[in-house]
């Protein structure tokens, strides 16, 4: 790994650490109340007192960005985690199940992969109705086909691998050999995919909230804050620009870390 890449990796890890802190303990970073309105202090430009300015109701944007971290990043994390579980369950089952089950599962993923991910997420929200949890489920189902495919391929590869055959020859029961020697390997590959996928899940979730399908006002959430700043963009660019910058910083850091981890995993396996 070159020096430049190593520096980038460390910086990305630091950013993620700050984001994690903001998500878990937002009060440590900004002690204000994200819901506190102040009509006389509305639409103030960024200053020493209001680092990112204030919105239409005079709420402090910096505080709202910090307090929105948990919700915005949380939805993306939840969706990625669920997609990983789904990929592990359906992928391993399809990998060892009779051909007919396997073919059925693969045809379903084929059809889902024919649609743009964002459209799949929109359709799921249309069926389930808006709300943060439904947004997470929608993003999960949109991302899941790729995880299922990888899970299946890895299961097939590993089930035929020499170390698994060795375990079987040594007399380990087939079920135990599968659980102890195949499943962890599949989980490993899916985790690498997930670290890269977190970024796109956060983006998709923010997109759905931007369209008003996620958390409702006055909850601080990045996509929603961007949408609320849209109508006053001419007077107050800061309302939309800072939450968007927060999303971009998060996604860049996540993908830098994800790519580095993937490069390491590939280096190890080859």
């Amino acid at each position: 790994m070159s020096v430049g890449r190593r520096v980038l990796f460390v910086v990305a890890l630091l950013v993620l650490a700050i984001i994690a802190l903001a998500a878990v303990a937002p009060d440590l970073i900004s002690a204000r109340d994200p819901l506190q309105t102040d009509v006389r202090g509305a639409l103030q430009a960024p200053s020493a007192e209001h680092l990112f300015g204030t919105d239409q109701s005079g709420r402090d944007i910096f505080t709202r960005v910090v307090h929105g971290t948990g919700r915005s990043v949380g939805i993306g994390l939840l969706a990625t985690g669920l997609a990983l579980v789904l990929g592990l369950l359906v992928g391993t089952v399809a990998g060892i199940a009779p051909r007919i089950v396997d073919v059925a599962a693969m045809r379903v993923t084929d059809v889902l992969l024919a649609f743009p991910e964002f459209l799949v997420a929109l359709i799921v929200v249309a069926v389930l109705g808006p709300g943060p949890l439904n947004v997470a489920i929608a993003v999960t189902l949109a991302a899941a086909p790729v995880y299922v495919r990888l899970g299946r391929v890895q299961t097939r590869t590993l089930a035929a691998a020499e170390h698994v055959e060795a375990a079987r020859i040594l007399g380990v029961a087939p079920v135990l050999a599968f659980v102890r020697h195949v499943v962890p390997g599949v989980l490993g590959s899916l985790s690498v995919l997930a670290t890269i996928g977190i970024g796109s899940s956060i983006l998709a979730a923010a997109g759905l909230s931007f369209l008003g399908l996620g958390p409702a006002e006055p909850a601080p959430e990045w996509g929603l804050m961007l949408a609320s700043g849209r109508n006053v963009l001419a007077q107050a660019w800061w309302i939309s620009v800072f939450p968007g910058a927060a999303i971009t910083m998060t996604v860049i850091s996540a993908s830098v870390v994800g790519r580095t981890l993937r490069a390491r995993a590939e280096g190890r396996s080859s």
Binding site: L122, A126, L226
Partner: protein
Amino acid sequence: MIRRIVGQAASVVVVLWGAASLAFLALRIIPGDPVDVMLGPQAQVSEDVKDAIRAELGLDRPLFEQYVTYVGQLIRGDLGESYQLRMPVAEVIGRQLGSTLQLTALAMLIAVVLALSAALVARGPVSRGIVAATELVLLSSPVFWIGLVLLSVFAFGLGWFPVSGTRNPATIVLPAVTLALPVAALLGQVLRDGMEAAQRQPFATSVRARGAGHARLTMHHTLRHGAAGALTLTAYLVGSLLGGAVLVETVFARPGLGRVTLSAITDRDLPVLGGIILLSAFTFVLVNVIVELLHPVLDPRVRTETVRTRP
């Protein structure tokens, strides 16, 4: 060759049939009574009238029969009628299709031009680093945020472009650029990777040994390799353009299919949503067939393979 065409046709049918089933499922598994959804929450309608509507729409018949009827209607080209607008779905979509097509086509053009110029210009390590960093930022930014930033800089700040509206042809520029930037970033990445991989291959050395300059090597050889790799992504890119159009049309308050989709979701206008699902699947299939036809033109290796398998 014939076997390939039959195989292609079969996968086209499977994807379209799957999409139709998905549309049917979305229409039927939705929680709540479709008739209540159709009438809206405030409607004061007696059960008798609701039953009459149900009978008219065929909702009182068994699910399988409804499914067969639905697929039968689709085969005849009937997409059903919008709950909200009381118009045929084909008309609702047809009215807005042009606007979205213009936007996505222009965005695709801008993306290809940007990606190509970035791949050709970025030759040194410094310029390559700058291009790669820009691509990372663009791929990590929400497309609606890019739109809002462009709006505040170029429309509100510098006043170069109109803010919204459709009369003035200049209004399409900012939305198209917004939609194009993430696609250009992805395309540029794939193109550069493909070209770099081709430059390391033995044939590149032999081309150079024959006395060809860098320009000739790039234009005649490595660019072609990069483009062949990028071509396989086309369906994905067109899909992300259509998905992005929903967000970009909202940001710039432009009419189009994105707005139709969004209002179909908020109003729970499921027949319209079914139409959008089918249109999207049809686009995917169409793009894939075009890519399949274009591939041999760009990549001679695919061409020789089809010749060899001919009986």
